[in-house]
């Protein structure tokens, strides 16, 4: 897994900068700043970010009290690598891509995913971030179970 050596606000004039694809599955609270730092680049004018959280919700009168996330970790990493190649094929100007996703117990209202994409100009990054979250939901092997106040639970399914 690439290391998180964010070069935020650094000055790297003249160096050609390696493109970073950073993926992390984490049991811990997600830091937006950490994800932003991972994509920061002196050649980029724009960073587009998406944060997904779980809304407070009721299902048949049961209240969701927490989520539990599970992943097929090695395959998630390899699907992320494919997704980054797909994004770079569609928007070649994309510089860095970083996705952090929670695993295990997540309180309702906390971020389950934070992703950021940097690009020299904003339009590419904004389209790429939408594609990234759509494809993550469709392709990266991660599952979410809702746990209710009645002790019931149910595995969710992303819409097509």
């Amino acid at each position: 897994m690439p290391s998180l050596t964010g070069s935020c606000f650094s000055s790297e004039m003249g160096e050609s900068e390696a493109r970073r694809d950073v993926f992390k599955l984490s049991p811990d609270w997600l830091s937006v700043q950490e994800v932003v730092d991972a994509v920061s680049s002196s050649s980029c004018g724009a960073i587009s970010i998406f944060i997904g959280t779980t809304r407070e919700d009721k299902l048949d009168g049961q209240k969701v009290i927490r989520l539990e996330y599970e992943a097929y970790e090695l395959m998630a990493q390899s699907e992320f690598t494919k997704l980054c190649a797909d994004i770079r094929g569609r928007w070649p100007s994309v510089t860095h891509i970083c996705v952090h996703h929670r695993l295990g117990w997540v309180e309702v209202g906390q971020a389950s995913v934070v992703m950021a994409i940097s690009s020299p100009h904003r339009h590419d990054g904004q389209q790429a971030i939408q594609h990234c979250i759509n494809q993550l939901k469709a392709k990266i092997p991660i599952w979410k179970k809702e746990v209710y106040d009645t002790q019931d639970c149910s595995w969710k399914e992303n819409a097509e």
Partner: protein, 86 residues
């Protein structure tokens, strides 16, 4: 010819199968449909995922249909119920 493969179960399929992983012996060339049928024979409750789950073979998605997959000893097969990441 047969191969001894690792089967991984995730999310709802792990709950239905009652295991997270196991080893099984299967033909080295088998349709993904027949592979799925073997898993359902072993864990009949998996049948509720019929038409919803797909498989992953060596971490590549494989639809459950008549395409042949080639398996070797130690290969990783996974049952992939509908995704809900994000």
């Amino acid at each position: 010819m047969t191969a001894r493969v690792f089967v991984l179960y995730f999310a709802k399929s792990a709950e239905l199968a009652g295991v997270k992983e196991e080893e099984i012996v299967v033909p080295t060339s088998i349709s993904s449909q027949d592979l799925w049928r073997r898993l359902v024979e072993q864990h009949p409750r998996l049948s509720v995922l019929q038409g919803q789950a797909v498989l992953a073979v060596r971490q590549q998605y494989v639809d459950i249909d008549d395409q042949l997959v080639t398996l070797g000893d130690g290969d990783e097969v996974a049952v992939v119920p509908p995704l809900s990441g994000g």
